[in-house]
Amino acid sequence: MAQERFADVVERFTRGDLNGDLRFSCEAAKQWQEEFDKNVKRVRNLTEMVLNPTSPKVGQTPREEVYKRNKSRLYRYASGRTHRTPLLFVPNLGISRPYIFDLLPGGSFIEYMTRQGFDFFLLDWGVFGPEDNDLGVEECVSRILPRMARRVLEVSGGSDLSILGYCMGAPLSAAFVASHPECPVKNFINMAGPIDFAKAGLFALWLDKRFFNVDRFVDTLGTVPADLVKAGFKLIKPTMDLSTNLNLWWNLWNEKYVEGFNALNKWANEYVAFPGEFFRQWVRDFYQDNKLCRDKLVVGGRPVRLGNISCPIFVVGAKEDYIAPPECVRALGDLVRSSDKEYVELPGGHISLIAGRGAALHCWPKVAAWLAARSS
C-alpha cells in the first residue's frame, strides 16, 4: 500500500465512512450522555466540597466512657451482648485517631462487631502533648493495659476477656498478655500488628541504628510532632495522594463515595504526636533491637516471653501492607505456645484491612466468626 497522507486519514475518520465501523451508534450516544451527566455531577460535587466543606460526622456508634487515666480513655459500646466474653480493642498509640474503626454507619468495624453481639470496649490512648513526654512503653504495658483489662472485667462482669490488638496495639498487648499471666485473657487477636521487626519493611530499614540516631532525635525534639509523623507515613507511599485524588475525581459524581472520602480524608490528615520517651523505646527496643521477638523485652520488671501466651490466637495479615508486612505479622503464631492458632492473609493494605468495603467483605466476618466460636 502506498504511503497515505495523514490529512486523508483524518478526513475519512471525521466523515465516518471508513469501513463503516466508526458510525456514531445510538449506544455510544447514550454512553456519552451518561458520561456528560457524570461530569456535571463531578463539577457540582467539587464546587460543593470547595465552597461548603462540611465536617463529616464520624464515630456514631453509641458508647459510654467507663474509665479514664490521664489522656487514655476506655469506652464501652452499646450492643446486644449476646457473647459472654467481653472484647478489648487496643489500637495504635499516637500516629492517628481511633475513629477510623467507627468511621461511618454501615462502614464501621465497631458497629459491625456490636451488631454481632460482642461487648466491645475500645482503648483510646489519647492525643499527647509535651507533658506526656515521659510516658514510655513500660507504662503502657505494665500500668495502663492491666488497668484497662481489669476495668473491662469489672464493668462487664465477665471472668475473662478477649483482646484484639491492631497495628502497634498488637505488639503492646501481646507484651502485656505475655508478661501478665494473672490477667485472664481468653483469646488474642493480632490484626496487622508487627511482631518480628526484622521483617518490618521500609520502616525497619529507615530506623536501623546505622542510619537513625533515635536518642539524638528525641533529645532534640522532645515530642515527635504530628507533622513529622505525617511526613514519615507519606514518604513510605509517596504516590498515595496522587492516586487518592485521581480516584476522587473519577468517583466525584457518586455522593456516597464523596461522603466516605470526606470521612476518610479527615482521619488521614489528623495525625497525632508521639510522646518522646515512648518513641525512643519503641524504635530502640522494637525496631532496632527486635527485643519482643527475641524474648529480651522487660516491662515493669517482668520479662516478656511470647512463649508464655497459651490462649487461642488469631493472626490477620494484609497482603499489600507496607507498614506491617504479612511476614512480620504472622511471626506471632510461631512464637506462642498456643495449640489453637490460626493465620489468615487477606487482600488489602494496612488500613483497608480493617476499614472500608473490602474489610466488611473479607475481614470483619472472619474475625467475628473466629471470636464468636470462642466467646461463649
Binding site: A28, R69, F211, F212, L242, S243
Partner: protein, 183 residues
C-alpha cells in the same frame, strides 16, 4: 488494505509523523556539528521512556476501538492507575536501598543540627518574655500537668490496692477464715 481499524490507522499515522518529525528536528539540530561524537546517553530515558512507550501503547489500544465510547475514559484512567503504580514500585525500590536510608539519616541529622540550637533559643526567649509579663511558661504548665498525671496515677494505685484488699476480704469471708491483712 490491512485489517486494522481506521482509528488504529490514524494512530499509526500519528505515531509515524511524530517519529519522523522528531528525527527531522534532531537532524536539523545536529547539522554542522562534529559527526564523530556519538550522542550522550540520556540517563532520564530510563524513567521517561517506559512511561512514554506505555502511554503510546495505551493510546493505540484506545484508538483501536470503534466506535469511540466513554470506555476511552475508563481506559485512560486505567493507564494513569498503572503509571502511578509503576512509579510507586520504582520509588519503593529506590527507597528500600541502604543508600537511600543513609542519605535520609544524614539529612535528618543535618536538620536536627540546625533545628536544635534554634529551638532552644526560641524556647528561652519565649520563657523570658513570659516571665517578664509574670505569666506561666510552657515548662511550668507542663510541670503542673505532669504533677496532676502523677497524682491521678497515685489515686489509681490506691484504688487498685483497696480493690485487692476488698477481694481478699471477700475471699476470706467466703472461706470462713479471718482475712490476713494485705501487704
Amino acid at each position: 488494505m490491512s485489517e486494522t481499524s481506521p482509528s488504529q490507522q490514524l494512530f499509526e499515522m500519528w505515531k509515524r509523523q511524530l517519529e519522523e518529525g522528531a528525527k527531522s528536528w534532531a537532524q536539523l539540530m545536529t547539522k554542522g556539528a562534529a559527526p564523530a561524537a556519538p550522542p550522550p546517553p540520556d540517563p532520564a530515558g530510563f524513567w521517561w521512556k517506559p512511561m512514554f512507550e506505555q502511554g503510546l501503547a495505551q493510546w493505540a489500544r484506545i484508538f483501536a476501538q470503534t466506535p469511540v465510547t466513554p470506555e476511552l475514559m475508563t481506559q485512560w484512567k486505567q493507564f494513569l492507575d498503572q503509571s502511578i503504580e509503576a512509579w510507586s514500585k520504582a520509588l519503593s525500590q529506590a527507597m528500600s536501598t541502604e543508600a537511600f536510608a543513609q542519605t535520609m539519616g544524614k539529612t535528618l541529622d543535618q536538620w536536627l543540627t540546625s533545628q536544635g540550637p534554634g529551638k532552644r533559643m526560641a524556647e528561652q526567649s519565649v520563657e523570658t518574655a513570659l516571665q517578664a509579663f509574670n505569666l506561666p511558661s510552657r515548662t511550668q504548665v507542663t510541670a503542673v500537668a505532669k504533677q496532676i498525671a502523677e497524682l491521678e496515677d497515685r489515686l489509681d494505685r490506691l484504688d487498685d490496692g483497696l480493690a485487692a484488699l476488698a477481694r481478699r476480704l471477700e475471699e476470706a469471708s467466703r472461706q470462713g477464715t479471718p482475712g490476713s491483712p494485705a501487704r
